[in-house]
């Protein structure tokens, strides 16, 4: 179960990071606000999941999020890609939300009330992410570039064997501030 928690937490953190790259440059302002908010939600989910994962093993959420090597992350290939094209970003969003919904259902059925409770809480926010993904899907589903992106990215959804070089670059940026300080620095 801890493995699954970390898997989801890593997915949410990395995807939140990638989605936040659209802040300030989304196709139009309303979408900028909406998509940035989704990105922020994902990072919030990651934080809560890391806290649960850290609970039993004497570490902290921050250490799990930022102090591991890139090869130790369990996120899927789907979320780590840098996708500067809107139709590919939306394709990833749609694929991710579908897979995430199924995974959250399993987590909600957990015997651990803390895990089941957190999954239910996260799912209540994900409902709006799914609405957002569906409305974009409806809008773009006839666009060849979007259809192509869906086909291109679909095989990567559950692909967790190995990472692309893009994760390493992202990790460098994501952890540079922490790494610039001696271990044990309090912020």
């Amino acid at each position: 179960m801890r493995e699954l928690l970390l898997e989801i937490a890593d997915d949410e953190l990395i995807l939140g990071w990638r989605d936040s790259e659209w802040t300030g440059i989304a196709p139009f302002l309303e979408e900028d606000v909406a998509f940035s908010s989704i990105a922020q939600n994902e990072v919030g989910h990651a934080r809560a999941l890391y806290e649960l994962a850290a609970r039993d093993v004497g570490t902290t959420a921050d250490e799990l999020a930022f102090d591991r090597e890139p090869s130790e992350y369990r996120c899927s290939r789907l979320v780590e890609l840098r996708l500067p094209e809107w139709e590919r970003t939306i394709a990833r969003h749609v694929l991710y939300e579908q897979a995430d919904a199924e995974r959250l259902e399993r987590l909600k059925a957990s015997d651990d009330p803390e895990i089941a409770g957190l999954a239910a809480k996260i799912d209540r926010e994900e409902i709006y992410h799914r609405l957002h993904a569906e409305m974009w899907h409806e809008r773009l589903k006839e666009e060849p570039r979007y259809v192509e992106a869906l086909e291109e990215l679909r095989p990567l959804v559950g692909e967790r064997n190995g990472h692309s070089p893009e994760l390493e670059q992202l990790w460098e940026e994501m952890t540079v501030v922490r790494r610039s300080q001696p271990a044990g620095t309090t912020w």
Partner: protein, 92 residues
């Protein structure tokens, strides 16, 4: 399209204009309205309506200046002031 958003802060209170969102259709308008006016728990309900569906009335003809139709046609302020002064004088 522009959609006007009205929000209700607590059950039973009147809806008040909160602002507007620009969206391609109703689904997008719903998503953006939720995002901008409901996400922080500041509303219990929203009304979202396409701007073109709102009837605007802004001319109120009063050719004969019948000011007794208006609330400002019968100024109470002065009368109240006088009444208060009288009451104060009596109680002294």
């Amino acid at each position: 399209m522009i959609y006007e958003v009205f929000r209700q802060e607590r059950k039973g209170q009147p809806f008040q204009h909160a602002g507007s969102v620009e969206a391609a259709d109703e689904r997008f308008a719903e998503a953006y309205a939720r995002e901008q006016y409901g996400r922080r728990g500041e509303s219990v309900a929203l009304w979202v309506v396409e701007r073109g569906s709102i009837m605007r009335i802004d001319e109120f003809v009063d050719e004969l200046n019948r000011n007794y139709h208006r609330v400002d046609g019968y100024p109470l302020k002065e009368k109240l002031k006088e009444a208060r002064a009288r009451a104060a004088a009596r109680d002294r």
